[in-house]
Symmetry: C2
Subunit: 186 residues, 2 copies
């Protein structure tokens, strides 16, 4: 669960980071930002901000933002019915970004979230400078993390099937609940 | 056919326009720019510059550039085998851009290429300011044109099937032939 105040703060900060990176957002685009805490209720440590640019039945384009030292939990996009699973292309825009994918342990710049060794099992580190791209075929286990500056990136993909995403951390639920402002007065 | 000198001039100018729009290109990206004259040999009037960011078997991301008053000929992306046809999302980045799609004739800002009334049959005009997006479902007939400033835009799509594109102008061939520098000495 995310308190509305934190949700708004994090979304506003993310829009600021996107604009500082030189991307043009329309007022419509800005309304499409959201944050995901994966049900862990510690958004700034494990979470991500997502601004959907477009999403059809076949393709989607999003801007993803990580705050400084924020980590998106390890997950993969499985086969769903006739769909072989979501394929995703990441393009780094600004900040410092590390991706972790299958392969040899080359972890150097990043860190494992405290006490969560079993939830972050991919250790092949890809440091992505602005302009770097990474293709994640369907089914590829991955997680990613920002350094001290945070990170802004594009995510382009085939059909979005978010609610079918699989996570390594058994505590995760994909749906994010935002506590409304009125609840804050209790 | 495009002479190499013109090809290089147009590609260099297009990279300049992309960078002036605030987009970051890596040296690798810049190598991926090309120009298409659709076999008409009048690139600056009818043609487009294309910088492919990524292209997999399932999705593609490109930056398209139109020089001032350059027009991309009318075409559509047909069904190819099991593929229902390429779906494309355009996002305007800079300059002034007009798209023409099926619907009522609302043409006002743009122009029909001289003597080519029969080759530009869609007249429903969508003026796209920076940040505007347009979804073109598979099979949608379309053409587009820049105004005095030229235009830079993203094109995100499902599987690219360019060589299967269908054009209204019967003189068009999709393959572009670039005349090598050595030929210029004749």
């Amino acid at each position: 669960m995310i308190k509305f105040k934190e949700f708004k703060e994090v979304c506003d900060k993310s829009i600021e980071m996107i604009e500082a990176a030189g991307l043009l957002l329309t007022p419509e685009d800005k309304k499409n930002i959201t944050a995901a805490d994966f049900g862990l209720s510690r958004l700034k440590k494990e979470g991500v901000q997502i601004l959907t640019l477009f999403q059809t039945d076949r393709i989607a384009g999003k801007i993803l933002v990580l705050l400084p030292n924020q980590t998106e939990p390890e997950h993969w996009h499985p086969t769903v019915g006739n769909d072989p699973g979501k394929e995703e292309v990441i393009r780094a825009i600004s900040g410092n970004l590390r991706f972790y994918i299958p392969g040899k342990n080359t972890m150097k710049e990043g860190f494992i979230v405290d006490g969560k060794q079993d939830c972050y099992t991919m250790r092949n580190e890809i440091v992505m400078k602005p302009g770097a791209q990474l293709i994640l075929p369907a089914g590829t286990k991955h997680w990613f993390q920002a350094g001290e500056e945070g990170a802004v990136m594009y995510s382009f993909s085939t059909t979005v099937t978010d609610l079918n995403d699989q996570f390594t951390d058994p505590k995760i639920v994909r749906e994010t609940i935002i506590e409304e402002p009125s609840s804050n007065t209790h």
